[in-house]
């Protein structure tokens, strides 16, 4: 049978992020798949060499809007690794870090559950999950002042303390969220239609996960019990009780189960941390970053987030390597897609919860004049944004 190539992307009205897949199909069956990335590369690693150690925490926060605390946390842990014993993160700061990181996991997993439902045409789940995700974002606003990009992490601790009076209300809301997640768990795990649709689809075997070094829920759904929170406990994860969730099937259904059960674990971690949290200072004052190199890795919602920072004794990093979890998870699409039918392609690709802004980190260049000159500087972008606002205002005024 003749082979046909179906291009998906890089820009498409239905895609959230730019990515380009070429699916080689015979009839309906996928026989090969090729992925191209690089449509969203912003050169963050280069940029962070020009910023001071304090500023980099804010730069890496903007790598991704969904897991916007994972990157700063991994980065500050890398810098704390350079400092070694010179820097002791206070106990309260560790608890605050845990709470923020776990709340993020809850909202990220709820976002995925919603999107997965949407891709399957099960829009009720999408509406439910995203409605309840708002609760988490509201909690974020109350605790950190921001619904996204919380700016909580700093080298040596956290930037902002929680207000005691808001904690009780947050715990009440989280308890309500547990009821909701239990409901979703029932709705998804007991639904015969979803069983029929997702079981045995896009199977990633344990050996594939090892070969591709897959991470996070993707690996845990294939029976690899790797979780940085357990393996190399950071923040306050060794002080609270929780379980690593694993499944052995490796199909899309197993990945959904892992994420739903993990959400429940995360809610419990947050509640326990809020009850146990000691009082005290929230940061250790760090003056100079000595020469050296450090590694920080944490468990982001999608898997291990890995940062390598090297300092030469000045106030800026000489090299800062960022490795987001999707970078390792995305290449597994080959094993998961080949042999499946084209109608399953969307959900299989979505099953690893890909995050392209994390995977690619360059600048907008003018492709016509070949000179690699940046087209838009920050000032230009602000100007453009202001002009657009003016236009909208004029339009509204004219009506």
């Amino acid at each position: 049978m003749a082979k046909t190539i179906i291009p998906i992307g890089p820009y498409h009205p239905l895609q959230e992020e730019p990515e380009f897949f070429q699916l080689v199909v015979e009839g309906e069956k996928i026989v090969d798949a090729i992925a191209n990335i690089g449509y969203n590369h912003r050169g963050i690693e280069k940029l962070s060499e020009l910023k001071t150690f304090d500023q980099v925490a804010f730069v890496v926060e903007r790598i991704c809007g969904i897991c916007s605390t994972s990157h700063p946390l991994a980065y500050v842990r890398a810098v704390e690794d350079i400092l070694g014993n010179d820097c002791v993160v206070p106990e309260r700061a560790n608890y605050i870090r845990t709470i923020i990181a776990e709340l993020e996991r809850i909202h990220s997993h709820l976002l995925w559950i919603g999107l997965a439902g949407h891709f399957l045409g099960y829009n009720t789940v999408y509406m439910w999950a995203w409605k309840e995700r708002e609760t988490v974002l509201d909690i974020f606003e109350e605790l950190s002042g921001n619904r996204n990009n919380y700016a909580m992490m700093r080298v040596g601790g956290v930037r902002r303390d929680f207000e005691e009076k808001s904690l009780a209300g947050v715990i009440t809301r989280l308890n309500k969220l547990i009821d909701f997640v239990q409901m979703i768990k029932k709705a998804v795990l007991d639904d015969p239609v979803l069983h029929a649709r997702l079981k045995g689809v896009g199977v990633l075997t344990k050996q594939d996960c090892i070969d591709y070094c897959a991470l996070g829920p993707t690996a845990r759904a294939s029976g690899i019990a790797n979780d940085v929170r357990k393996d190399d406990p950071y923040a306050a994860y060794d002080k609270v009780k929780w379980n690593v969730i694993t499944q052995i099937e490796g199909d899309v259904f197993a990945k959904a189960v892992v994420r739903i059960l993990e959400t429940l674990e995360s809610i419990n971690i947050v509640i326990e941390c809020m009850q146990k949290m000691p009082k005290g200072p929230i940061y250790d004052n760090v003056k100079d970053i000595p020469c050296g190199e450090g590694i920080g890795h944490i468990e982001a919602p999608r898997g291990e987030c890995f940062h390598y920072v090297r300092s030469d004794g000045t106030n800026r990093p000489v090299r800062h390597k960022v490795r987001a979890p999707t970078y390792m998870n995305l290449p597994t699409y080959k094993e998961a897609l080949i042999g499946e039918t084209i109608s399953d392609a969307t959900i299989i690709l979505a099953a690893i919860d890909p995050c392209y802004c994390c995977t690619e980190r360059v600048t907008v260049i003018d492709a016509n004049n070949k000179k690699n000159k940046t087209v838009y500087s920050q000032q230009d972008l602000i100007k453009l944004s202001q002009r657009k606002t003016e236009q909208i205002r004029a339009k509204l005024g004219a009506r």
Partner: protein, 157 residues
């Protein structure tokens, strides 16, 4: 195998090629080895020990090009970083992609951003940069100039 036994076994097995060893902390160790043995050491760590390949980071130190391969051994809670130093004029090292499929993308990235030639890589084409990016211009090299002229480029010393 515990932490000490593992480190000892590496030291004995690759006695000839280890140039430097740093026991930084309980969870982090650094080896510097001869670039020609990277494939063997990777095979030992990945296949025999069962380490997970985290990532490689390429650095231009102005004197030479360094690549650091990070491996994690979860059951020992240990990150082993293997450093190789390459000649800056013609950086060349054996590819580890034939051993670890997960290393394909990062080697392509280091190849386009720093200009290291990975011999034996099955598909050494660009990953992130666009097709019209000029050949031989590596954005993460220390002497890379044609970037943003307005940026502050002093190192703040």
């Amino acid at each position: 195998m515990n932490r000490e036994e593992l480190l000892k076994s590496i030291k004995i097995k690759f006695k000839q090629s280890i140039k430097d060893f740093l026991d930084k902390s309980e969870t982090r160790v650094y080896f510097e080895i001869d670039p020609k043995d990277i494939k063997e050491l990777t095979e030992y760590l990945f296949m025999d020990i069962g380490a997970r390949f985290n990532i490689a980071s390429g650095i231009d130190t102005r004197f030479n090009i360094e690549i650091i391969y990070h491996f994690t051994i979860e059951r020992l809670n240990l990150i082993i970083s293997i450093r190789v130093k390459l000649d800056r004029d013609k950086p060349k090292v054996d590819s580890i992609t034939p051993l670890i499929k997960g290393a394909e993308w990062i080697e392509r990235e280091i190849h386009e951003l720093i200009g290291v030639d990975f011999t034996g890589h099955p598909n050494l084409k660009r990953l992130l940069l666009s097709d019209d990016w000029p050949e031989g211009v590596y954005p993460l090299r220390a002497d890379y100039k044609e970037w943003d002229k307005g940026a502050i480029r002093d190192r703040g010393v």
